[in-house]
């Protein structure tokens, strides 16, 4: 059979020589190895101060986007909840009242919207399912909590703040960006 690598070694069980039986040369050799390693660069990343670069398509904590005017894009269609293989997303829909046009983009909106971060597997299928470009996964890491209930994120944590928008351009494919430039499509109207 062809070996996968050339690193395999034939095991030989032979009598040890006197020098090998003494073990001292072997111990000394081991000590040289450990001593050399003392001067190697340590592999540690000092986490809170230094953060490792993330993959450009890292999928972390979700964001519910607002449109250019600050209105929530989500219309509570439920496609993300249907698409979610982990059944982490729940929502309740409500109808937009008069005078709330600045808050919600379309007539229907999500009165509450919850993602259970412990159930979520961060697959990104909710992104793919969303017809309104409302939900995106970002490069933020979901922080640790002491209680399981605290991992159920509501709209307070998911919807982006009007004054601090969250950049999701990394999650938008060139095709989507090209599509968005076409203002004639109703989807892209402000």
């Amino acid at each position: 059979m062809q070996p996968l690598t050339n690193r395999s070694k034939q095991v030989v069980k032979k009598e040890m020589t006197f020098a090998e039986k003494l073990y001292l040369p072997a111990i000394f050799g081991g000590m040289i190895i450990t001593f050399k390693n003392m001067f190697r660069k340590s592999a540690t990343v000092q986490y809170p101060e230094v953060k490792r670069d993330m993959s450009p398509n890292f999928r972390g904590q979700h964001v519910l986007k607002r449109d250019e005017n600050g209105a929530e894009r989500c219309t509570a269609c439920g496609l993300c909840a249907v698409a979610c293989p982990a059944e982490a997303i729940t929502m309740n829909a409500a109808e937009r009242k008069k005078g709330e046009e600045g808050l919600y983009r379309e007539e229907k909106y999500a009165a509450n919207y919850e993602i259970n971060m412990l159930r979520c597997i961060f697959c990104g299928l909710c992104e793919d399912a969303c017809p309104k470009e409302a939900i995106f996964l970002t490069d933020r890491i979901v922080p640790t909590e002491f209680d399981r209930d605290d991992f159920v994120y509501g709209k307070d944590k998911l919807v982006e703040k009007v004054n601090e928008r969250i950049d999701v351009t990394k999650r938008q494919t060139p095709e989507v960006l090209e599509f968005k430039k076409n203002k004639s499509l109703s989807h892209n109207k402000i």
């Binding site: 081991g30 000590m31 190895i33 450990t34 390693n37 003392m38 340590s42 592999a43 540690t44």
Partner: protein
């Protein structure tokens, strides 16, 4: 007399303080050395460079919940760590830390007690050390602890024999049992390890076994006996057990240095002291500094070995002790005797 007593008291207190301080920072150094050898950084958060880590560890140990098992023998359970700690601290009294110093117009020696049977005293005290572990392991009423205690006593008794035999050859060649005289004999000439290389090697290996340090850490064996004799211990009682090991490491490094590496003497010391024009006190301070450097090297050496070698199997440990080290030590005595006879030192 008054000044002499006062000096001794100061020296005893200083001895304790230094032992504890060195042991404290040995725990820190151990973690650092292990980290460096494994390409990690080690503790670096508590204080600058992590230097306050031992304090944090101590506080942690004190704050932990104290658990004494219901089925344990409570008196012995408490005595165990006390014995381990006391015996660890007692051996330091015999180490000559330096030569003479001049204070208040009088001359003092930097040694708490210069017994003419100092070597025997050191051996007696280190043999008592096993009682702390035995009592602790037995009183816990736990099979892992008992296994650890049995291993500890078997191991320490086995290796004490080889250690004693190695020392007999040293006593033959030096002709004294006083630690100060052994140190002073290496003053001008070569250090003892040149005359007793095999004896030194046997003593060093046995020191590892006596200290229960890797590769001889059978009594603890955290991976198979869950800590061995200190499985049931918690809070500062556990801390005392662990701390006693580091004090022992410091003291046994000092003993090795005194026996085989010239103690507070160093090569060309008379020439260097004359060239620098040092007074007696300053020369002693220099010698003590050099001694501490040697001791720290051996502490580092203990750690170096620990993070290099894996643990022995129990039968391997016993075979090494009884079938290799003891015959070698006896051979060493014979060779020493023959060489001394050929040099006309024995008639």
């Amino acid at each position: 007399m008054e000044a002499g007593l006062l000096f001794k008291i100061i020296l005893v207190v200083a001895m304790f303080a230094v032992s504890l301080l060195v042991a404290m920072y040995s725990t820190f150094l151990e973690r650092k050395v292990s980290a460096w050898m494994q390409n990690r950084k080690g503790p670096n958060r508590a204080g600058p460079l992590g230097l306050l880590q031992p304090l944090a560890d101590g506080v942690k140990m004190f704050m932990k919940e104290e658990i004494i098992p219901n089925v344990s023998n409570k008196a012995l359970f408490i005595i165990g760590p006390c014995v381990a700690m006391t015996t660890a601290l007692m051996a330091g009294a015999l180490i000559p830390w330096g030569g003479d110093i001049e204070l208040w117009g009088r001359t003092f020696t930097l040694q708490v007690a210069d017994l003419n049977i100092g070597v025997l005293y050191i051996f007696g005290i280190t043999s008592l050390g096993v009682y702390g572990i035995m009592i602790g392991g037995w009183a816990s009423n736990n099979k892992y602890s008992l296994m650890g205690a049995i291993r500890a006593s078997a191991q320490m008794i086995s290796y004490e024999i080889a250690m004693g035999l190695a020392i007999i050859a040293l006593i033959m060649s030096t002709g004294t049992m006083s630690l100060k005289e052994i140190a002073d004999q290496q003053d001008a000439g070569l250090a003892n390890f040149v005359y007793q290389p095999l004896g030194f090697l046997i003593f060093l290996i046995c020191a590892f076994a006596e200290l229960n340090r890797a590769p001889f850490d059978m009594p603890e064996s955290e991976s198979e006996l869950i800590g061995g004799y200190h499985t049931e211990y918690s809070s500062m009682k556990l801390g005392l057990f662990l701390f006693a090991e580091y004090i022992n490491m410091f003291i046994s490094s000092a003993v090795i240095v005194t026996f085989y590496f010239g103690g507070y003497h160093f090569p060309f010391q008379n020439e260097i002291n004359e060239a620098l024009g040092l007074s007696t006190t300053m020369a002693t301070a220099l010698g003590t500094g050099i001694m501490f450097l040697k001791v720290f090297f051996f502490i580092f050496f203990f750690m170096w070995i620990r993070w290099t070698l894996p643990r022995f199997r129990y039968d391997q440990l016993m075979r090494l002790g009884w079938k290799s080290l003891i015959p070698l030590a006896i051979l060493n005595i014979l060779v020493t005797g023959v060489v001394m006879w050929m040099n006309g030192k024995i008639n």
